[in-house]
């Protein structure tokens, strides 16, 4: 994402995606955005959750809303 390289703050356009990251203790600035102009999409957070879960060998996390 060339245009996203100089991001000031992470761009999330969905409160649900923001919450998903928060509920999983993820730092949005550490998530790689795949949306246009560096927008972090649901799939990006889900990807990060999967990666984190894999790394820490935690049990699969529940992604349904609480």
């Amino acid at each position: 994402q060339p245009a996203a390289a100089v991001r000031h703050a992470p761009r999330v356009i969905s409160p649900l995606v923001r919450k998903l990251a928060r509920d999983h203790g993820l730092d949005l600035t550490a998530i790689t955005p795949t949306g246009p102009r560096g927008v972090i999409l649901r799939r990006d957070v889900e990807q990060a959750i999967a990666t984190t879960a894999g790394k820490t060998a935690e049990t699969a996390m529940d992604t349904t809303p609480k």
Partner: protein
């Protein structure tokens, strides 16, 4: 044979619980002494909204000239109003019976009582359940010394069967039911005066919403006495005379008592079985569990919002709780409220007063419907007010205007999903809609007003 769940009362709460439980594979028996659908379907939400629609048609017909439509309004055909309302109710009633049947819920007709833990008795029959859900609902209240005679002094239930449009009505109570029926009676041509002990109509709403409603009602010729207590009522040959605590008297053909509804919790063995009850309502925890293990209570029987969809939500939650799905408790501030009068009043989230109580620092934005073309086309005054936590999410949406009730769902998503004003503001709303008023308020809160006059 013991059922997984015995539900007592087939209103909104009870039938929703039964449906969800059956879906989750539970065996369910639903006990109803009258008609499945309860208050909401037969004496509440549905029939009143049918009346309100007839009222709207009457008003639009009266005002048709201002839209370039030539028509003559010739009055209300009371029998026709009932026929319309009954058709709607009957259809929905068939629908819900079909749903329960389809889901495999056993329906028992009869009056039940809690005969022991996990035991509901109906006549000589006892239904045993691993879990019992009490959903016996509520009934109209009155004031001490004020007797409902069904002729001169009536409740909402009598309004739904009225045989004529009265010349004049005093509505005691400016809550949702009083306000809605005052609106209907006025549209049908009656002189209406509302008496409310608190300082405003719809006293639990945002104060600015109440004031907008009051202004609209004043324009419609609906009178009101606010902040004054009822003292007494006397029926006469031709009507009823009401005396207020300040000495003022009012007279009218009818007195409609709409001072609230009380939980139906007496005479059914609840207290005998150790169920904690406070001021008539069954006490429950955040999962609707009563003080007796295995016994739940939902709907108007418990002291939460007396709304059909709150009952649905509670019923569903209890079914899921019993099934071990560990559902989250309900955030009642996030349950939308609508008063379907003309104009409608709707809200979700907290009020500014509640924010102040809780020490939440808020910013607010009011968007006047005068700036909203679609509302102008509909000929409605009103406003959308949005409250957001300072540098934080939206915490309240409060609206007044014709047809505005449908917009509360947007507020419901925004509030419950903790959206920031900027997250809504980026989504330019469809033009020309009333929902643009919500969009404009969000744009302004996000620091990028579009159609906002400063």
């Amino acid at each position: 044979m013991a059922y997984d769940i015995v539900v007592l009362g087939g209103g909104s709460g009870g039938y929703a619980c039964a449906l969800r439980a059956a879906e989750l594979g539970k065996s369910v028996v639903l006990i109803e002494k009258d008609k499945i659908g309860g208050t909401c379907l037969h004496r509440g939400c549905i029939p009143t909204k049918a009346l309100l629609h007839s009222a709207e048609v009457a008003d639009e017909t009266r005002e048709s000239e201002s839209f370039g439509v030539k028509a003559r309004f010739d009055g209300i055909d009371v029998q026709g109003v009932h026929a319309f309302k009954d058709k709607i109710v009957t259809r929905a009633w068939k629908g819900v019976q079909g749903l329960l049947k389809g889901a495999g819920v056993t329906i028992v007709e009869g009056e039940g009582r809690l005969a022991g833990p996990g035991r509901i008795q109906v006549g000589s029959e006892v239904y045993e359940g691993r879990n019992v859900v009490l959903a016996t609902g509520s009934a109209p209240k009155t004031l001490p010394g004020l007797e409902i005679d069904g002729e001169r002094v009536i409740t909402s239930e009598h309004t739904l069967k009225m045989d004529r449009v009265p010349t004049s009505v005093i509505v005691l109570g400016g809550g949702v039911i009083g306000v809605e029926l005052a609106s209907v009676y006025r549209s049908f041509g009656a002189e209406v005066t509302i008496v409310e002990a608190l300082p405003h109509l719809l006293p639990t709403e945002e104060e600015s919403s109440s004031k907008l409603l009051e202004r609209a009602f004043r324009r419609r010729g609906i009178k009101y006495e606010l902040g004054v207590f009822f003292d007494s009522a006397k029926t006469t040959e031709t009507g009823v005379v009401v005396t207020l605590a300040n000495g003022k008297t009012l007279d009218a053909e009818l007195l409609l008592v709409a001072v609230g509804r009380g939980a139906v919790s007496a005479g059914m063995g609840f207290e005998e079985q150790g169920i904690a009850i406070e001021r008539g309502a069954v006490v429950v925890d955040e999962h609707c569990q009563t003080s007796v293990p295995g016994v739940y209570a939902i709907g108007d029987l418990i002291p939460t919002l007396q709304l059909a969809h709150a009952g649905f939500a509670e019923g569903i939650m209890v079914a899921e709780h019993i099934a071990g799905l560990n559902p989250p408790p309900i955030d009642y501030a996030g349950v939308p409220r609508i008063t379907y009068s003309d104009p409608e009043v709707a809200s979700v989230g907290i009020t500014s007063a509640q924010a102040a109580e809780r020490g939440i620092e808020i910013v607010e934005q009011v968007y006047d419907l005068a700036g909203n073309p679609k509302s102008q086309i509909l000929g409605t005054a009103g406003a959308v007010k949005v409250l957001a936590q300072k540098d934080g999410p939206v915490v309240g949406v409060h609206m007044v205007g014709r047809r505005i009730g449908e917009l509360v769902t947007e507020g419901q998503l925004i509030y419950n999903w903790e959206a920031l004003p900027a997250e809504v503001a980026q989504l330019i709303h469809a033009h020309p809609t009333q929902s643009e008023a919500v969009g404009e308020a969000m744009l302004a809160l996000a620091g990028k007003p579009l159609h906002v006059h400063n």
